[in-house]
Subunit: 453 residues, 2 copies
């Protein structure tokens, strides 16, 4: 699927905004910003350099402040919060939904958190404390305790009358939950069914008994997977005793899926998905250094391998010209295997039962690719350096390195996963460490044995 090329709304807004800011007239900027949804404002703020970001932040309708804070990355959020005084902050966040407030609370100054807790009524305070008692990135943290429940021993028209009395429903209410006296979940009734069946129908005839609920400890990625597998708009969250605690809605699930994708894409380069595009230089530098130093260390290992063969290279400089190719192509081939495996693991498609079959398939692919690429490379080397034995050496070395790359590409992520690490993050470093070092070793080792006999 191609990225959007036309209809690039955010980029267009950015240009308009940038022109308006350049002109120094803030009226048009304010009007432009406040036609946007909070998530769009968040996106826009993230795309502005710090000085302009603060100007625009000051122009956002205070009513939207809280929602905007929910929709920006941690680092940008910190900078926006630092710009607000405690009263403004309290006003901005106190009307948020409990799940959004729980998401924000850890980034707020303690004084503000205290003030917010004091300004809440007891019921909401207890709800917030309950949500905060669950681990981050679990269903408990994602749920909103605000649910509409009904009893099974009633009829559709009674429920409709109750809803009219109750007034506005929580956002994305597509089901009412049927509970017993002890607030245990029995099933759910679709709002759609309530409006299409006869008013006299008993509720217990409408209950969907195929209901699946989400346990409060379920990790966020598993929540996302179940939503997308079952096409849910909302789903109930329960505890061990099947007591209804709250519900999760699809808009939060979309956020999880986006975050997961960013985490994987940026994490593979050693970055945090909350990184601000315009981080202060010192902060950006410090964060990237860690990853570069890890890479420096693996590079030293590879350099050390080359160092062992200084005498060989000294006798045949062509080896120095060719060795990065063997290492690099191994890394590329391994990266392909790795990409497939990391996806498979994330989808739960790779496990003990099929890892053997996968490895066997990848080794055969690598062998064929190695023989073919090796033959091409060997031919070019023959023409370039006119040495048949050098040709043979690079042919064998490349084939071996592609086989090793396939082996590493399959086994590294599976091993990391089994050890409890996130395979999406660290696999790449290990893989290139192996394909570089072993690529140099095979090529230079073979050269030493075959060419310098």
């Amino acid at each position: 699927m191609a990225e959007a090329v036309r209809h690039d709304k955010t980029a267009r807004q950015l240009r308009l905004l940038s022109d308006a800011l350049d002109s120094g007239r803030l009226g048009p900027v304010r009007r432009l910003v406040n036609t946007l949804a909070p998530a769009e404002i968040g996106n826009l703020l993230e795309s502005l350099p710090p000085d302009r970001r603060m100007v625009v932040w000051g122009l956002v309708d205070p009513e939207d402040d809280g929602e905007v804070l929910v929709h920006v990355g941690d680092e940008v959020r910190e900078s926006l919060i630092a710009d607000m005084d405690p009263d403004e902050l309290v006003a901005a966040v106190e009307d948020l939904d409990i799940d959004d407030l729980a998401d924000l609370v850890e980034d707020l100054p303690e004084a503000v958190t205290g003030q917010i807790l004091r300004s809440m009524d007891r019921e909401n305070r207890e709800r917030l404390e309950q949500v905060l008692s669950y681990e981050e990135d679990t269903a408990g943290r994602l749920m909103n305790p605000d649910v509409v429940t009904v009893r099974a021993d009633t009829t559709v028209d009674v429920v409709l009358r109750y809803l009219r009395l109750r007034g506005e429903l929580p956002e994305h209410t597509d089901h009412l939950y049927v509970v017993n006296r002890r607030h245990q979940l029995i099933g759910w009734v679709a709002l759609q069914d309530l409006v299409t069946c006869e008013p006299g129908r008993p509720i217990n005839k409408l209950i969907d008994d195929e209901l699946e609920s989400i346990h409060v400890d379920t990790p966020a990625p598993e929540v996302a997977r179940r939503f997308s597998d079952n096409d849910w708009v909302s789903a109930p969250v329960v505890d061990d005793s099947n007591t209804l605690l709250g519900r999760i809605t699809v808009d939060d699930v979309i956020d999880i899926i986006r975050e997961q994708a960013e985490h994987r894409a940026l994490g593979a380069a050693g970055l945090d998905e909350d990184e601000d595009l315009f981080s202060p230089v010192w902060r950006a530098m410090r964060r990237r250094l860690v990853w570069l130093f890890v890479n420096l260390c693996t590079a030293f290992v590879a350099a050390n391998v080359v160092g062992q063969f200084e005498d060989t290279i000294d006798q045949l400089v062509a080896l120095a010209v060719l060795m990065p190719m063997v290492a690099g192509l191994g890394g590329n081939a391994g990266t392909q295997v790795l990409a497939l495996m990391v996806r498979g693991i994330a989808l739960g498609q790779v496990g003990a039962s099929n890892i053997g079959t996968l490895l066997w398939k990848e080794l055969r692919v690598a062998l064929l690719n190695g023989l073919l690429m090796g033959a091409v490379l060997g031919l070019v080397v023959l023409v370039w350096f006119r040495s048949p034995s050098l040709s043979v050496v690079i042919f064998i070395a490349l084939t071996c390195n592609l086989l090793l790359a396939a082996l590493s590409g399959v086994l590294i992520p599976v091993t990391l996963k089994r050890l409890g690490f996130d395979p999406a993050l660290a696999s790449g470093i290990f893989l290139t460490a192996i394909t570089d070092s072993m690529g140099f070793f095979t090529f230079l080792g073979l050269a030493t044995v075959i060419l310098l006999r």
Copy 2:
């Protein structure tokens, strides 16, 4: 956010299924498979090697066949379709929603497509033909023409009575669309509002006039962005004259977001997101070869750079040991910048108005990192090879290569995007081509000038 480690439902199912298949008793396999949602069955089929996949596919309840086909990647889909005879296929897909059918139709044998079109009533056939007339990956292809419309000049109780007469609503109906006589979209009414307000209320008092609609030509990624920015469950699709054509639902949007993420993750390694984990070896090999050959070509360019300095290396073999480090670290640093930029471009956060600021920031980060990493590397080289001038050479070369990496990391994706290419796919190859070649050139060139004077 950590990937799911516990509660790994798919992996557990896979193990159970695998054990059951091993035991050869197909009864338990069938029961296990048919407790799953179609998307889960699809996921399971994708994680099985071809022989087992076909056994399990034969056990899936024929009623679910169509939905399962919708939920698997193109390559797996082809293999499943090849296993069915035309009558089975027609039976499987004829009850699908129009949008799902449109998604499948191109993978079906022509004879089957003809048979399906003949078996449809005229209205549905025309709807399908209309959906198929829009370009792939646009709103027109994603929409389902099945919508519930009401008139503005009526009241809530009339609408409720109409809904009761009509019976079952299309899935995920959270809004009814208000249209005029010419089927032009005027606004929408939330189902939630219908059940909470008094029955006598006129519909035109309930219309949400802040409604945004989606133009039928909007590209899929833009559709996804607007859904997630506005927390929609469904949204209306209109043409140039604002005529209501259909609606898009959030479950399709989740699929788009997932596909985009996979496209980005696998595309960066030159793979297709529809690649089957268990592709036949020949097919997998052919597909990966293209990417490896492109990398082979850029590697030749880099090797050629090294080849220009054979004399220099001949005089100082330490250069061969160290040159991969300069090139590799440049590639790593550039990849970090690239990851940030590709995300920024995908979110529409990067454009002409801020590219200068971004470049300036990244160059400063690269300078600081270069000076620091260069100093460390220089010190190690001093201890290792006891040559102060070699130390200075690698210090300068690394700093230059990190600066170049930052420049490339910012400019390559922006340029590709402007030229109409997908920056997520090709940027990496160009970047490492530059950091490798120029890393070698700077390091070996400086060494030639400074060390061999």
